[in-house]
Assembly symmetry: C2
DNA sequence: CGGCTCATTGATAACTCTCAACGCAGGTGG
DNA sequence: CCACCTGCGTTGAGAGTTATCAATGAGCCG
């Protein structure tokens, strides 16, 4: 019995494109790995030695300038794919934000496997296209939105992408509540702001009665409609 | 003899993955189309009815907020692919910035063709992954760079991506010179700035002797090294 | 030669960043 | 068990950068 049989994301990850025989073959070249919160998995600019599926946890993709400014360019949730197939180097670093479980593959092995399994490549293509769409929408936020709109947009997106996992969702009405997988600094790095500005916007939204902050890492959306309006 | 035989981008577009027989089949479902400068080809949020290869010209991909702010999220050059296969709607609009020639396909026809030609999908996957990398690098610019750094980065990227076409390239040394496919407003929309700020940065770079501006639409880079340094 | 669009320049305002102090929570050790 | 220390977050004051508003200037076409 392979690790895949009990895999939490077996039917949501790109592996869903494969039948039992193929899964066994893929399983043979992959291995499970646990990453501690804060631990990096891939470094920007380094050789692209591995790719992976995320089973559990949240990871960030980030780039930076030489003088130390950082920008988070993507956030990856369970069932999603990380790494750069078919290329020599990584365009960005990958770091776990929470403790994470991933299913890693040597990149060359994966490339070869993918090349001979069109259904897998098709799935990967669909995901990459969807990720590109999402990334481009994020550019509108970075290029054109104010700090208030950015923080509101961030909370809206987070509540949507976290809900399948935490499932504390009251459809439509009422208060969604969730735990932030981000520190304030990381939120700032996602939004292209400073930590102080993020903090002030949180305070503002709290004062306006749109959200409550039970603790540093928890957010409850009191008025999803108004939050959505704030997002621009 | 099909239109593809004389196609300028036959060997650079995703079509390069196909043999003569396959090209003929693809040619049967596509048609050439010329787009005037400024004319839109796809609208944001509309049904994704078509996809295309760019043969000649430059096009922009853009999104906007409800209140009219615009952000250009990508720029497409000859041999590149536009449109959103495998999805119901377009995530962004596509508009020609110069007169452009494209080879368009009904999206459903293309989807079906792609699904039965793994080599084509592979090429498309590689391009999409590369485009995602490029887009993410652009996020660093939008989130963390100053106006001066943004304009310099823009000129650097433009000189690189335009050179295969215009080929006025003196390798390493000396002055690259090219024609901007963008108005000042469009440059502002790419960089997440206002037209006035872009103009002031052009003036500053000119005053510093890093570039010269022979006319509104032309740029000559006097000092590539210094420009690169300005890009941050 | 107007009349148009697009770009530049200037003055001012708004926003976000920077720098600095303070507060809160969790962990450690006495 | 409490005091202290440390890391993260909040709050405040002021500076800097970019946006906004307004006017001027340059190229283009009728």
């Amino acid at each position: 019995m392979s690790a895949c049989d009990t895999c939490l994301v077996r039917n949501r990850a790109i592996c869903a494109a494969l039948d039992d025989r193929e899964i066994a073959a893929l399983n043979a070249i992959g291995r499970r790995r646990t990453i501690a919160a804060g631990e990096p998995l891939l470094w920007e600019g380094e050789d692209a030695v591995l790719v992976a599926n995320v089973i559990e946890g949240v990871l960030k993709l980030s780039t930076g300038t030489e003088d130390g400014r950082e920008q988070i360019v993507g956030v990856v949730y369970p069932s999603e794919f990380i790494g750069r197939p078919f290329a020599k180097t990584n365009g960005h670093g990958v770091t776990a934000m929470t403790e994470a479980k991933v299913c890693v593959f040597n990149r060359r092995d994966f490339d070869a496997f993918a090349a001979s399994h069109p259904a897998l490549e098709h799935k990967l293509l669909e995901r990459t296209l969807a990720e590109l769409d999402r990334t481009r929408r994020w550019m509108l936020l970075l290029g054109r939105k104010s700090a208030g709109e950015r923080v509101a947009s961030f909370l809206v997106e987070l509540s949507e992408r976290l809900s399948p996992a935490t499932c504390q969702t009251m459809p439509d009405t009422g208060a969604r509540r969730f735990t932030l997988p981000f520190s304030r600094q990381q939120i700032a790095d996602v939004l292209g702001l400073t930590i102080e500005t993020v903090s002030r916007q949180f305070t503002r939204l709290k004062a306006a009665g749109i959200i409550t902050l039970p603790s540093r890492r928890e957010v409850e959306i009191s008025s999803p409609a108004r939050l959505h309006a704030e997002a621009g």
